[in-house]
């Protein structure tokens, strides 16, 4: 979600000078994003909030030493990721072994939808719903997206949240999550592919339904 905020070169000196207004601006603009990201590392909302609180404490403590080598946002997100990882690891010790596996499918699209030569057998459905009845549908499809996002494996979800929901650059995502660029791309691709599939299924179902209701009306 885009947030309006003063650029780094304006807000950073104010922060370092102890300007409360600047800190409030940051706190209120980024806490929701941090909370969303934190939730991808820890199991409960309460823990996520604690992680966000710890992150801000870390920011307060470290701001005087922050030299601006990365953007302020990336720096804050990195603090969060580190705190959250510590928490997440601590929490996951009690997880059953089976929960640690990551049963990811490698293909972006169900392989059954391609012919033997790799050409489309069942091509992507047209997303008609985007134009018709768009207001209600958009809200519905966002909730479909939200659910599908929640269902992604953790590593994929973290990348997708940072890249697509928060709009963080690829390089910064790698730094925040401590992963390689190619790793980042693979995780992003798998995540996005699953979300696209969820939307496709949603639109297809919606279209089937409106076909049926039209048929009944005739």
């Amino acid at each position: 979600m885009a947030t309006l905020l003063s650029p780094d070169h304006e807000i950073l000196p104010r922060l370092k000078a102890g300007d409360e207004g600047a800190f409030v601006e940051l706190l209120d603009a980024w806490s929701p994003s941090l909370r969303r990201l934190a939730r991808n590392f820890v199991k409960t909302e309460a823990l996520a909030e604690e992680v966000v609180q710890e992150t801000w404490m870390g920011v307060i403590k470290g701001i005087s030493r922050f030299e601006g080598r990365s953007s302020l946002k990336t720096w804050v997100f990195t603090i969060l990721a580190n705190r959250a990882r510590t928490r997440g690891t601590r929490e996951s010790r009690s997880l059953p072994l089976s929960a640690l596996g990551d049963p990811e499918r490698s293909g972006a699209v169900d392989p059954d939808r391609f012919l033997a030569n790799g050409a489309w057998g069942e091509p992507p459905f047209v997303w008609r719903a985007q134009s018709a009845e768009s207001v209600v549908r958009a809200r519905e499809s966002l909730s479909v997206l939200e659910k599908a996002l929640a269902a992604l494996p953790d590593r994929q979800r973290r990348v997708v949240v940072l890249r697509d929901v928060e709009g963080v650059d690829a390089v910064d995502v790698c730094n925040v999550l401590e992963i390689s660029e190619s790793n980042q791309r693979v995780l992003l691709h798998r995540g996005r592919s699953k979300l696209r599939a969820a939307l496709e299924k949603h639109y297809q179902g919606a279209d089937d339904e409106s076909e049926r209701s039209r048929a009944v009306a005739h």
Binding site: E49, V109, F114
Partner: protein
């Protein structure tokens, strides 16, 4: 030649610009020829765009947590500017053992506040040469040539202890702030350190000029322009007052050197009123305590 299946597998590498040039070219050629794959790539892009529309988490921080973060910021910013270590103020509750966690302020803390109230709580006088500009002024050099060495002015203020504080309250930090001062266009400089010293008095009188100090002068942070932070670390004074069971804490605020003899007027206005009337809220006290 890339198959449609290859196209779906490589879609993100393509949109991220990570494909080698020749691969990217054949990707584009396939796209030009294949409507299904164009649709696929467009849908993938639309999915990413839709993700930007997701609502942020409804509650970033709940109000109590937010307040404790703000409290930590306030005390740490004052402390940082005072040149003290964060740990010395934001540490464990009084007398507590040191905490393993390196974020000592991570515990439950809250900020409680009070401000000067009533006519008797803030006293000062207008330095000679600045008549008509109100009371509660500090000055160094004086614009009145009869006082070439400057005319020191002190502020005496009484702040009630915030109601949340009792004898058992652990005080993490206490910051006295003067939020709305002005220099009336006469920037002050070279006046030595600004101190908020704890003294005890019943009513203002000129005898307070040399009153005995209870807690040693706590350094204050003084900005160079209007609106900069002006804050004093009065943690010791507040702890003292709690320890002896007082329900208020009183300060004498002054510069070490009244006159810097640099030939220009130095002025700090706390009360913009032209009379000697005291406006409540000119001095604030924020105390960070352990939450119940």
């Amino acid at each position: 030649m890339l198959s449609c299946k290859d196209m779906t597998d490589l879609a993100t590498e393509y949109t991220e610009g990570a494909l080698p040039r020749w691969r990217s070219l054949s990707y584009r050629m396939h796209l030009a020829m294949c409507g299904h794959c164009r649709r696929y790539v467009a849908q993938l892009r639309r999915t990413a765009e839709a993700l930007r529309q997701l609502a942020p988490h409804p509650s970033g921080l709940d109000p109590d947590t937010r307040e404790s973060v703000m409290a930590a910021f306030r005390s740490s910013s004052a402390v940082l500017l005072l040149g003290l270590g964060v740990a010395s103020l934001s540490g464990c509750p009084l007398g507590g053992a040191s905490n393993d966690d390196d974020d000592e302020m991570g515990g439950d803390v809250e900020t409680v506040s009070s401000e000067n109230v009533g006519d008797e709580s803030l006293e000062g006088h207008t330095p000679r040469g600045f008549q008509g500009q109100g009371t509660g002024l500090f000055t160094g050099d004086n614009i009145n040539p009869n006082f070439p060495d400057g005319d020191g002015v002190q502020i005496f203020t009484t702040l009630e202890m915030p109601a949340e504080i009792d004898a058992d309250t652990a005080v993490h930090s206490a910051i006295l702030r003067l939020p709305d001062y002005s220099t009336n266009g006469s920037p002050f400089a070279d006046l030595g350190d600004l101190n908020a010293q704890e003294i005890v008095f019943d009513a203002f009188s000129s005898a307070l000029w040399d009153a005995e100090v209870v807690a040693d002068g706590a350094d204050c942070v003084l900005g160079s322009e209007d609106g900069d932070l002006l804050a004093c670390d009065v943690t010791t004074a507040v702890r003292n007052s709690i320890e002896v069971g007082r329900d208020s804490v009183q300060f004498r605020i002054r510069f070490d050197d009244a006159g810097d003899s640099d030939g220009s007027a130095d002025l700090l206005v706390l009360n913009p009123s032209d009379s000697n009337e005291v406006i409540p809220g000119l001095v604030e006290l924020d105390v960070v305590i352990s939450a119940e």
